[in-house]
């Protein structure tokens, strides 16, 4: 069997990234779009950690931790916006959120 190399991890990360992009670009439900963004961030994290191992230092892992922090902030804000919007417009579909104000 082929030994598992960094390349393998990169391919997995790329696949997750593309799945996330597809989700962001095609879905209507804001919640699922936010989840797709989490998918993208995870793909990036996986890349960073894989590179961290390749280069033998911890900077990649540090970045990954910062991205996790960022993802937490993003989820809180995104879901906050979502709830505020849902309260006013009773919809969570992106293509109905086109008024640029409420």
């Amino acid at each position: 069997m082929v030994p598992i190399t960094t390349m393998h991890y990169l391919v997995v990360a790329a696949a997750l990234f593309v799945l996330g992009v597809v989700g962001v670009l095609t879905r209507r439900n804001v919640v699922i779009i936010l989840m797709s963004i989490e998918l993208i961030l995870n793909a990036v994290n996986l890349n960073l950690v894989a590179f961290s191992r390749t280069w033998g230092n911890l900077h990649g892992q540090l970045f990954a931790i910062f991205i996790v922090v960022d993802a937490a902030a993003e989820a809180a804000i995104g879901l906050g916006i979502l709830i505020a919007f849902f309260r006013n417009k009773e919809t969570i579909n992106v293509d109905e959120i086109d008024l640029l104000k409420w």
Binding site: G20, R27, I32, M35, L58, L62, F66, A76, G80
Partner: protein, 193 residues
């Protein structure tokens, strides 16, 4: 001490676990973007997150794996589920699931995939797998050192001297970011302030 008794844990069945976790991650990633029901998507995303944290463990990044589980799966996803239940509207899952420009989006994603494929096939040599393994035992300690700094004790100075870590500033900025996020979320979700 007998080296046989305390042999370091050599990873077993690496490729099996890698393919298993990678498959689980990608498959549930696919489910995330295809399910009608947002709760199903969220559950699939949890599986993805756990698989990815398994992959981190295989990459000798136990601290990141732990953070991934505790923050993502235990925190963020509970928040997601909470919000989905709060805005639980039946009709969303019966409506059209994809937005009007979905062909464009899909096309763009395909283009992105093509770029990735091209990069991987053309630039295969760029990503050599070096036989470097990170020492597992001190991972947390090292991460902590880089984030917060450490107290260095020498013979001349036994009380120790504080060394600022490489990322201490970024760490403080991150905490500020979180504070702003908390305030923003509270202000936005509160009905009356």
């Amino acid at each position: 001490m007998n080296p046989v008794l305390n042999a370091g844990a050599a990873p077993i069945a690496t490729s099996f676990f890698f393919y298993f976790l990678a498959g689980a991650a990608i498959l549930s990633g696919l489910l995330v973007i295809t399910r009608r029901n947002a709760v199903h998507s969220a559950l699939a995303l949890i599986v993805t997150l756990l698989s990815v944290s398994g992959l981190y463990l295989m990459l000798y990044a136990p601290f990141v794996a732990g953070v991934q589980i505790i923050v993502y799966a235990g925190g963020i996803m509970v928040l997601f589920l909470f919000v989905i239940m709060l805005v639980n509207i039946e009709r969303v899952s019966k409506e059209r699931q994809f937005n009007r420009i979905w062909p464009v989006g899909l096309l763009a994603s395909c283009a992105l995939l093509a770029v990735f494929l091209a990069a991987f096939t053309k630039g295969k040599d760029l990503f050599h797998d070096r036989p470097i393994t990170l020492p597992e035992d001190s991972n947390t300690q090292q991460v902590a050192t880089m984030l917060y700094g450490e107290v260095v004790k020498t013979i001349q100075n036994p009380k120790g001297q504080y060394m600022i870590g490489q990322y201490t500033f970024a760490f403080e900025i991150a905490s500020l970011l979180l504070l702003v996020a908390i305030l923003g979320a509270v202000i936005m979700t509160k009905k009356k302030i």
